[in-house]
């Protein structure tokens, strides 16, 4: 999944997806430094990418279980200013084959 960051918005390429291993990239299109954290619905932060420079690209690999997550920029008050994105992770669909 690709998340574009700009002052002060995060824009994700997906709103939902299956549980499992995810690679999340952050492209910083803005002028400030930005970061990407992933927070579970219970408030626990399960991953942080680290600072990404302006025009830079960051990446983080994380295992996501079904649930709702908030992707956010952890720099200063950027999250409060609007830099967050909600991601819903669902149980993957199981393919059934006809007997």
């Amino acid at each position: 999944m690709l998340v574009n960051a700009d002052e002060f918005l995060l824009n994700g390429s997906r709103r939902a997806g299956p549980s499992g291993r995810w690679r999340i990239q952050l492209r910083n299109n803005g002028e400030d430094l930005h970061d990407l954290g992933i927070r579970r619905a219970d408030g626990r932060v399960i991953a942080r990418m680290g600072i990404v420079d302006a025009n830079g690209l960051g990446s983080v690999k994380v295992r996501l279980r079904p649930g709702t997550y908030r992707l956010f920029c952890g720099v200063a008050d950027h999250e409060a200013l609007g830099m967050w994105w909600q991601l819903i992770v669902r149980v993957p669909k199981v393919r059934t084959t006809a007997p």
């Binding site: 999944m1 690709l2 574009n4 700009d6 824009n11 390429s13 492209r27 299109n29 690209l57």
Partner: protein, 446 residues
């Protein structure tokens, strides 16, 4: 019973087709130059203007590390996706015009931040790239990537945003300071109000309550104009047709457009109801396009250079290196530097961008897999050059370059007699010859 053997096309016929296919497309795939050179230029131009059949050639889909690309969810794959369309595209003029219109209606994902919207814009443009300019401009007005890029979304009657109105008159239809005033821009901005974008729902729309339905005066006409009216007023303006035709001419040749030809193009454009195809027909059959075949004068834009290199060497997209290489060369599709698009011709060649072009050729040669120990020592210099030409799609080469390449083919292995040297230097000769054919001065121009 007699058998007719087709004569090989003459060198000049091949050179003409090569020039045409580089200017109107992304270079010919192996075999097409000879076929079209035999068929004649009329057939070649007709095939470009009226393509038939599937949009893409039968060739493997693009991959990175053996996996299918994901243009929406992985950084840089959007560029690979478009590059692949150029490489495998069969409707070459349509693809090339899509790129030209992307330069004309420049929109950058740097601001749009949504590869899906950019892909939609690609298809919006592609399906109208050689048809009616009026319809293309109307579609661009409603294109969501464009609306985001030039702040047309959420431009409200209480606070009309002038960005789209300004660029629409200045760059898209009339040209800088060419028949409009600041007041026209302000009034056009009022007429363009009403488009909406809900960020949370990512939903675009139009709200007549937010549209300024008052009387406006735009380009000398007065009325309660709507967004579509702005498109029509600009396109009906007498300065529009010459501006657009001249700009189209510039995409195909750096030579100045002769006044008589411009008149002819303008007449064709107007009488056809703003159709682009008749204008392109005049350009593609104009002698200026084929002038001085021995001294090409148009620098290939980076993405044309790369797509053409892959086409000529029968390769497809298999690495994401192309994204940063194109960036280093100065042209990343979906990311024009500003609303004016890319600077063309000599601006493409800087010390850094030429180096990036050399690296791109190295990447293409690596993919040819000419491994050590695979070339027999008995290969003559002439055979080596002939093999390199074949492997690089027989590109046009000047007499001077051919002489230099022949000299290199003769001298490079002359003193390499040991077995270990044979293992390495014979393939190395072929690799270098391929590289010089793909990256040398002749390869940078068309």
């Amino acid at each position: 019973m007699s058998t007719t053997i087709a004569r090989p096309p003459t060198r000049i016929a091949r050179a003409r087709v090569e020039r045409l296919m580089w200017r109107a497309g992304f270079g010919a795939v192996p075999g097409d130059v000879d076929r079209l050179a035999r068929a004649g230029m009329d057939v070649a131009v007709h095939e470009l203007l009226f393509p038939r059949g599937p949009q893409l050639r039968k060739a493997p889909e693009p991959t990175v590390d053996g996996q299918p690309i994901d243009p929406v969810n992985v950084y840089g794959h959007d560029v690979l996706w478009w590059l692949d369309r150029m490489v495998r595209g069969r409707h070459q003029l349509v693809e090339r015009m899509t790129l030209n219109w992307h330069d004309h209606f420049a929109t950058s994902n740097e601001k749009v931040s949504d590869a899906r919207l950019m892909q939609q814009q690609y298809f919006t443009i592609r399906s109208r790239s050689v048809g009616s300019f009026r319809k293309l401009a109307q579609a661009i007005l409603r294109d969501h990537a464009m609306q985001r890029f030039l702040d047309l979304d959420n431009s409200d009657k209480d606070d009309p945003n002038e960005n789209f109105a300004r660029e629409f008159l200045e760059l898209f239809t009339l040209g800088v300071n060419n028949g409009y005033t600041e007041q026209d821009i302000r009034e056009a901005a009022r007429a363009l109000t009403g488009f909406t974008f809900n960020y949370d729902a990512k939903a675009f729309g139009y709200d007549s309550e937010r549209h300024d339905d008052g009387v406006k005066k735009i380009l000398g006409k007065t009325g309660r104009f709507t967004p579509n009216d702005v498109v029509n007023l600009a396109i009906n303006h007498p300065k529009h047709a010459p501006y657009l035709c001249k700009k189209l001419w510039g995409y195909f040749t750096p030579r100045p457009c002769p006044p008589g030809t411009l008149k002819k193009m303008v007449a064709a454009y107007k009488t056809s109801g703003t159709q682009i195809r008749p204008v392109l027909q005049i350009i593609l059959t104009h002698p200026a396009l084929l002038a001085d075949l021995g001294e090409p004068d148009q620098v290939k834009p980076p993405v044309v250079y790369v797509a053409g290199m892959l086409r000529k060497t029968n390769q497809v997209v298999t690495t994401d290196s192309w994204t940063w290489m194109l960036d280093n060369m100065g042209q990343r599709p979906f990311y024009p530097p500003n609303v004016s698009g890319w600077e063309q011709d000599e601006a493409w060649l800087t010390t850094a961008s030429v180096r990036a072009r050399y690296e791109a050729a190295s990447q293409a040669v690596r993919a040819m897999e000419i491994k050590d120990g695979t070339i027999a020592k008995k290969q003559t210099p002439a055979q080596a050059l002939s093999a390199a030409l074949r492997m690089t799609g027989k590109p046009w080469t000047s007499a001077q370059s051919r002489a230099a390449l022949s000299r290199y083919a003769r001298t490079s292995v002359a003193d390499k007699t040991a077995d270990w040297q044979e293992e390495h230097y014979w393939p190395e000769r072929l690799r270098v010859l391929c590289h010089m054919l793909l990256a040398g001065p002749d390869a940078q121009v068309s």
